[in-house]
Amino acid sequence: MECKTVKELLYDYTKNEISAGQKESIASHIKQCHECTAEYDELIRLKALFGSSLESPSPVVLASIREKLAAAPSGRRLHGFLRPVIGIAAAVMIIASAGFYTSGIISHKNNITDYMIESYEVVEPEFYDNTVYNYETDILYGDVL
């Protein structure tokens, strides 16, 4: 396997999301290639930063959530509950986009808004039929009712 291919697959390798054959090729390549070993070590180092940087939410927030949940009726059905939320979300979006125009930010295109428009058109998950649906891949995820 060439260095370029190895480097492209290194992250998949750390996630163990590659075929057994590729895994073996990468492992044996890393053993004998200093450059790819260095890349791999750096990747592992960066990944470790995430684990050692986890923050704990404030205990006050946790207590407040517990309190609110203890007082709330549990497991309400989705249908009646989400409909008004979707209405509110739509209203919020309309108001937000109105603000967009009046403030003149619409001309100020950037990475974040591009991304949001691309990936997050829907404010609330499409959940009224109780499934998570991926439009892009046409795959129905999950084993919901």
Binding site: E8, Y11, K15, E17, L43, L46, K47, L49, F50, G51, S52, S53, L54, E55, S56, P57, V61, S64, I65, K68, L69, A72, S74, G75, R76, R77, L78, F81, A96, G99, F100, S103, I105, H108, N111, I112, T113, D114, Y115, M116, E118, S119, Y120, V122, V123, E124, P125, F127, N130, T131, V132, N134, E136, T137, I139, Y141, G142, D143, V144, L145
Partner: protein, 160 residues
């Protein structure tokens, strides 16, 4: 709280919070998001059968709400991404380095990396949460990690 929800909460609260914090880089907002999504989840989780779909829904709400907050911010002022994490949250060297690197990564690359590294989701799960196809998720994560590596290497060169 019901036992099942309690378990879900115990196993995910910290990760949901850290994913939101990674996107927003603001503690108060991340706490708001966490509070919000768990209360919302509590009202709907009875309708789910599988744990994996609940988790997908939970993180998807957290990501969407965090992105919405960024949108609200950007509507409020055109100075995007300028809200910094308060300095007192950076209390060790690893955190300081990661924060410095991640702050320079655009949110579309940052989010899938957070889901992968903090919550430990697979490509397929991230694809479901972000509603992007797996190829897009893979390429965003790889692009993001490559940029992190490049930035880290530059910082070493400049002795930061």
């Amino acid at each position: 709280m019901e036992e099942r929800f309690e378990k879900l909460y115990r196993e995910n609260a910290r990760y949901v919070y850290n994913v939101a914090l990674g996107i927003l880089r603001n503690k108060a907002e991340a706490e708001d998001v966490m509070q919000n999504v768990f209360i919302k989840l509590f009202e709907t989780y009875g309708s789910f059968r599988g744990e994996s779909s609940i988790r997908t829904y939970l993180y998807r709400m957290a990501v969407n709400r965090s992105i919405d907050l960024i949108r609200v911010r950007s509507n409020r002022s055109s100075k995007l991404e300028q809200i910094e994490l308060p300095q007192n949250t950076v209390n060790n060297q690893a955190k300081a380095e990661l924060d410095s690197l991640m702050s320079r990564l655009p949110v579309e690359l940052r989010t899938p990396i957070l889901l992968s590294e903090i919550a430990g989701f697979s490509y397929k799960e991230i694809s479901a949460i972000l509603q992007l196809n797996i190829g897009t998720v893979k390429s965003r994560i790889n692009r993001g990690m490559t940029r992190l590596k490049e930035m880290a290497a530059k910082e070493v060169m400049h002795g930061v």
